[in-house]
């Protein structure tokens, strides 16, 4: 086997689909995480954490065999296959069903921020490691719960600073009702085509008739009159109920009076097969992939031994940061410059500044700190606070006020 030239310098690179984050990027992501967690907490959602590693069995059990190819796997010492979690809904369902619900009962309001991992085609421009923030409302099957998570999702987009976000809401039951009118083998074939969003191929799979007409119209069933247009297309009870639920959900969300466009989209198809009822996604202008997605998954908790209705959503933080760049400046750095005999006083004054919340670095007066917004020099009499073009003396007990004034400028 030949060693390729690129292999020799591989140690410089990160693997495909994962990336380093520079201080400004991390600062922006942390700010966003902080805002979202704070928002979730104010809506009564408690943050939980689960391990990065889960058994492959857990994911297959929860999300179905279809996820298998999209997971990053490793083999444990005993031969068990472990996966890096691809999302947080299945781990939180496991956590809720096996730990929290038996102990506390429901409903549970849970929140998280966590890196998740998926295998992606090389060169597809999609990350293998990315961050999701989200909530799960477990143990409440009412329309009110659907409304709550959709309204919270819309508020989260606002808190994140996304401009002109729009939320599309659909319902898995509408499609289930349509598919129930087809022979079982045809329904399976159609489900497969819809999962690939291959609407153009439906004509080859379904016999001409009202079901085919309705299926082909799915991608157009969005916007203000979509519910009315959909009603005659799906006469079955399950589809009718789905449309009624959607009407109630939209009315409920409207009551919040959020400045975010929320509209019906019956062609919405989510990637995970555990979704059972209301589903939704949010988009920003000029972005091909959704920023946020979620919905109701009433069957999932039962798979982990504790039946409970549930709904929730996850936000892709990297996508949000791309759609809503936050140009906030980083925290200014204060340099405390010491001369040989003043070291002790320098580190003590630095401690006082750090206590007061200033980013503070102790440097020798000879070297200084090039990117310092403000320098506190140790002098015989006390201290001198210097900013660009200005300097004034300050005593130890007034140092924080002097530095604050210096940073705020004239």
């Amino acid at each position: 086997m030949r060693i390729r030239a690129t292999d020799r310098t591989r140690w410089r690179q990160t693997p495909a689909g994962v990336r380093d984050q520079m201080p400004a990027e991390v600062a922006a992501r942390r700010r966003l995480e902080g805002r979202l967690l704070d928002l979730f907490a104010r809506w009564g959602y408690r943050e939980v954490a689960t391990p990065t590693l889960e058994y492959l069995d857990t994911l297959l059990h929860g999300a179905g065999p279809g996820v298998g190819d999209r997971l990053l796997k490793l083999v444990d010492s005993g031969g068990e296959v472990l996966v890096l979690r691809p999302e947080m809904t299945v781990p939180l369902a496991r956590l809720a069903a096996t730990r929290l619900l038996p102990a506390e009962g429901g409903p549970l309001r849970l929140a998280y921020v966590a890196p998740v991992f998926r295998s992606q085609d090389r060169g597809s421009g999609r990350l293998r490691e990315f961050t999701q923030a989200g909530v799960e409302l477990i143990g409440d099957g009412g329309v009110g719960a659907d409304v709550e998570v959709i309204a919270l999702a819309a508020e989260a987009l606002q808190a994140a600073g996304v401009e002109q976000p729009s939320v599309s809401v659909g319902h898995a039951g509408f499609l289930r009702g349509l598919l129930a009118t087809l022979p079982p083998e045809t329904a399976d074939a159609v489900r497969e085509l819809l999962y690939r969003r291959a609407f153009a191929e439906l004509v080859a799979a379904v016999a001409p008739g009202p079901a085919l007409d309705a299926l082909r119209l799915l991608p157009t069933l969005h916007g203000p009159e979509a519910l009315e247009r959909a009603r005659p297309l799906a006469p079955g009870e399950e589809s009718r109920e789905a449309l009624d639920v959607l009407r109630d959900v939209l009315d409920g969300v409207a009551a919040y009076g959020l400045p975010v466009r929320v509209q019906v989209n019956l062609g919405l198809i989510r990637d995970f097969d555990y979704y059972s009822g209301t589903v939704f996604e949010a988009h920003a202008p000029r972005a091909g992939m959704p920023l946020l997605g979620g919905g109701r998954y009433d069957g999932l908790l039962a798979r982990f031994g504790r039946p409970a209705p549930a709904t929730g959503f996850a936000i892709g933080l990297e996508r949000v940061l791309e759609a809503a760049p936050t140009p906030e400046a980083g925290r200014p750095v204060v340099a405390v410059a010491y001369v040989p005999l003043g070291y002790r006083r320098a580190v003590r004054i630095a401690a006082r500044l750090r206590e007061a919340g200033f980013a503070t670095v102790v440097v020798s007066a000879d070297s200084g700190l090039a990117d310092a917004a403000c320098t506190v020099a140790v002098t015989e009499a006390g201290f001198t606070v210097r900013t660009a073009g200005r300097q004034r003396p300050a005593a130890a007990d007034e140092i924080t006020a002097a530095v604050r004034a210096a940073l705020e400028g004239p």
Binding site: E201, G223, A287
Partner: protein, 216 residues
Amino acid sequence: MDTLTIAVPSGRLLEDAVTLLRRTGLPLPGAGQDRRLLVECPGGVRVLVAKPTDLLTYVEQGAADVGIVGRDILLEQGRDVYELLDLGFGACRAVLAMPADRVETVWRPGRILRVATKYPRLTARYFEETARPVEIIVLYGSVELAPQVGLSDGIVDLVMTGRTLRDNRLQEVAEIARSSARLVANRGSLSRSARVAEFVARVEAHLAAEERPIHA
């Protein structure tokens, strides 16, 4: 008003794609006639010309709202886009072919077949479904050459008329997929942009008016 960005494929589908856009009433001065890859058109429409294999990346990532692409590429790449309409033109088939004089010896159940192709995933899926063993050799063009010089036993490639197969003394042994041009859209544009919805409706109305035969 939002700009509507339409991606059309360079190569064999380009002419038909531009003709279709014109017939649906889009003013497209110059699009597809010179070497410009991005053409701004009146009425807030942009047309970008992408290599067929790259086109879905532009659409999926939101750099284009909608695109025109062969079904062969959709099947090969498995991207996250809506495949909305069969546009009818650009019909072709992906077939498995091998030298006519060697079919008897190599196309036998259980024999590991070496297949040269530009479509490794499509090929792998076919052999998985038919439970035949295969070794795939990925080439980027003129795959007909491979079996003639002993690089492979056969090929999987697109055929339109079958002339290239005949000229290279290759015999079709199985049809793997049928293809034609498709209209695709990304997940965001379809639901949030009224212009995209309107464009799709216009193309669909045009197809209905032409009453193109819809094939499987």
